[in-house]
């Protein structure tokens, strides 16, 4: 709760700072400072929260569990890392720098809501708070038609999915007479109420849209490709992780009891997502677009957590979100250093910028799930969770095959950097600070890779 209030207030402060201060660098530093403050608030809430105790707010509109606080903290930290890594690129996007940062704060409010809502109304509002700023950020580079196009596409389809979400909520309400997700009762006679089932499917579809799962994934490549690169990085990481947490929260708290009736559908969606994401990524020429498709593929892996209703799934989701977020942020940070976003743009990077190439290798390893990186442990826990459902072995095998394919396109970057010759043009000299931060990110990945339990404190 503290975090939500703080985020809102800080967002407003940021907004006004944007109006008052004109110097972009100052705004950036202010924003960084405020994010640090927000992180501080989160940690304060974390420390003050009692282990394993969930406290309800406003008669069960909101239930703040240690898990949600922990997730909020991680996401705030990720956002801070993001701002540190790409701040200088964010302020280059357009004029309204302050507003951008304010939007980030508001998005975080949405993230916090999604991690702790207990009422479908709040879930709905949370999703909207998450989405609307993203529509805006997507279109924020007004000199660039692609950005506007991305924004319009994202908006239209997003609104469409909102309608579907609402229909789902309504049908559930119609069957149960409740918006409170912990009070549902689905059974009529010995059967699941078809109304509920229809509603659940509507919800699955709308969430599938938010997490860009097939067949709702079409917006992802275009939007990620068209949006200003720094904002793409944010959308692809924190926003997506939040959507996943909302997804798993809703489905594992309220629909767990009828998982038999939806897990198969979700399993099929997962398989489709893995397939589409991985296969389509193979042929991309632009690394940015490849990352967009790979984010679909990664979403497919994260869906495994939602499919398998178990405690492992929550832990797995935390590890996966963080691992994926950090690695992707790193990749985008590196990408922003380069002029040419195609694979050929990476040719010979190892010669020119060995350090850059090295950290990129680690990010790639993490995304591809090579051991000793966070990505491996994440995938590992996902598979473990999926296997804990006895009947999903086929999905696991399929996911693994797809992971092998993912190695195929991820390693194209490595091949380009190390084994091809070329002279990549950099946007700007890679400053010592950048290097430090990138190395830090890489080290984080390794640390999580060898000690994932750091992300899983007791009692979450």
């Amino acid at each position: 709760m503290k975090a939500i209030i703080a985020a809102t207030v800080l967002g407003i402060i940021m907004m006004y700072a944007g109006f008052v201060v004109k110097e972009k660098k100052t705004i950036l530093s202010i924003a960084t400072l405020l994010f640090v403050v927000l992180l501080g608030v989160n940690i304060w809430e974390l420390t003050s929260s009692k282990l394993g105790v969930t406290e309800p707010w406003f008669n069960f509109q909101l239930v703040v569990s240690p898990f949600s606080i922990w997730f909020n903290t991680l996401m705030t930290a990720a956002t801070l890392l993001y701002v540190l890594l790409m701040g200088n690129d964010i302020i280059k996007v357009g004029k309204h720098v302050g507003e951008y940062f304010a939007l980030f704060f508001f998005i975080l409010v949405g993230v916090f809501l999604l991690s702790s809502f207990n009422n479908m109304l709040l879930m709905f509002i949370g999703i909207e708070i998450l989405s609307i700023p993203q529509y805006i950020l997507a279109g924020s580079d007004k000199r660039n038609l692609k950005s506007s196009e991305a924004s319009l596409k994202y908006f239209l389809m997003g609104a469409f999915s909102t309608g579907i979400l609402l229909m789902g909520i309504t049908l559930i309400y119609g069957a149960t007479g409740e918006f409170n997700i912990s009070k549902f009762s689905f059974m009529q006679m010995e059967h699941v109420n078809p109304l509920v089932l229809t509603g659940v499917l509507f919800l699955i579809i709308s969430y599938a849209f938010k997490v860009s799962a097939a067949p709702m994934h079409f917006w992802t490549p275009d939007v990620y490709d068209g949006s200003p690169t720094p904002f793409t990085a944010f959308m692809a990481t924190v926003a997506k992780a939040a959507a996943f947490v909302g997804f798993i929260r809703l489905f594992h708290t309220s629909f767990a009891s009828i998982s038999g009736s939806w897990s198969m559908v979700l399993a099929i969606i997962t398989a489709a997502t893995l397939f589409v994401g991985n296969i389509t990524a193979v042929f991309q020429q632009s690394v940015k677009r490849m990352l967009a498709y790979s984010s679909i593929a990664q979403a497919g892996f994260m869906l495994l957590a939602v499919v398998s209703v178990s405690a492992l799934a929550w832990q797995g989701l935390i590890v996966y979100s963080v691992a994926y977020t950090i690695a992707t942020l790193g990749m985008f940070a590196v990408l922003l250093k380069l002029k040419d976003f195609t694979f050929d743009g990476f040719n010979g990077l190892a010669k020119k910028e060995p350090l850059l190439a090295f950290v990129t290798t680690i990010f790639i390893f993490s995304l591809a799930g090579i051991p000793l990186t966070a990505g491996f442990m994440a995938k590992y826990m996902m598979l473990q969770a999926a296997m804990s459902q006895g009947n999903l072995m086929w999905l696991v095998i399929f996911a693994l095959l797809m992971a092998a394919i993912s190695a195929y396109y991820y390693f194209r970057v490595i091949i380009a950097m190390y084994f091809k010759t070329g002279d990549p043009e950099l946007n700007s000299e890679v400053s010592g600070m950048d290097k430090f931060l990138l190395v830090l990110t890489a080290i984080l990945i390794i640390i999580i890779g060898v000690a994932p339990q750091l992300l899983l404190p007791a009692g979450i």
Partner: protein, 475 residues
Amino acid sequence: MILVLLILIPFLVAIVSFLAKGAAKNIAMFGSLISLAISVYVASFCGTEQTAAIAFPWMPAIGAQFSLSADGMASMLCLLTGIIFPVVLLLTRNKEIESPASYYGLILLSQAGLMGVFLASDALLFYFFWELALIPVYFLCSRWGGERRIAVTFKFFVYTFVGSLMMLAALIYLSMQTNGVNAMSWQNIIAAGKSLPLGQQHIVFWLLFVAFAIKMPIFPFHTWQPDAYEQAPTPITIILSALMVKMGLYAVLRWLIPVLPEATLYWSDTIMTLSIIGIVYASLVAMVQTNVKRLVAYSSIAHMGLMCAAAFSGTELAHHGLLVQMFNHGINIAGMWVIVSMVEQRYGTQEFKKMGGLASTAPGIAIALVIISFANIALPLTNGFVGEFMLFSGIFQGASTYHIVFMSVAGIGIILGAVYTLSMVQKVAYGENNSGVLAVAKMSTAEMVAVIVLLAFIIALGVFPQPLLDLVLLP
């Protein structure tokens, strides 16, 4: 504790040589010699409390430990690793390679990985080292290999990556059968595997076997190998063929057969058939190769087929012989590659039609070639013989209904082996020098040392194999 050093030293030296620019060559050699010394120590004190197993808590969340242990087999393979790497480094002693720092760093990194694979007694740790050994080799091959290196090595990488993912699935599945505490430890994995019903054992078995079969490689999963061997720089080919393929066998012996005894029994005939088809098939294909590296690659496939068949024949004798043969094959094939690399450097080609006359141009190399070739076809009083004799008699005494057929068909491999090996010797060493290279350099000191070390092992273990026989069976 000494076991940790066995992994740590190459790792640290690797880091150092990454940072060291020019001195990397000597640093790497130094490091590899140290780890050789340690591996000798481990081998000689194997089974005593000096080399006692160790275990630190690591990932309690998923029941993984950092636990190492060295029985006879493991310390034998560590010893082999310790011996091979200095040889590998000797080969490039007098050569200037571009960006030596990363070259030697990666080599030592893979050594650390290999040691880990052989020592790990925790499934997840094993998997980590399995990949750690693979990745540096991937970089080495794609960076310093032949002209088709990138595509070929990438194929090799993806192929083995698929395999290891299969293995990962199986290991996770097994670990989930146990209660959470140290679910990944070898003992628990074994207990889990034994407890599985046969139906699930089949799935897990094939997941594991495919992974290991790709690594060994067993027909028909072998096609990455000739290309990879051909394109890889020869020192790396040594690592690949002398050590990496042993990872597959070792894994079969350590992580497959004891874990899934029933499924093993159920499938052993199938797999022995595959392996033995592989022997004959690879030998026949080897006969018509025109590229020396491909020929040796196929011969290696044939040998691995024999060893794999022995592994699944289920007799003490075959198992014992297999352990011995793993070491001997490592030495022989390494020797073979050393020769090949020397020839390649001198004649500047891998094609037979451009070779020949080595016996008159560089008799020393020719003699070494002949000896190693005969070791390769298991001539008595070379190390190859003892192992292969035990393998054959083991397979022959196997419980399988077809044991006599298996042994006899595998025996055809002996004949064909003689055919292609001798024709290789003939094309490389005898006849006239067709390379157009007039001044063929004699062996340099470094090469001489490498060759002599290997020859010493070949003869010594051929005449007096008992020490090795005793070592490998230590608990």
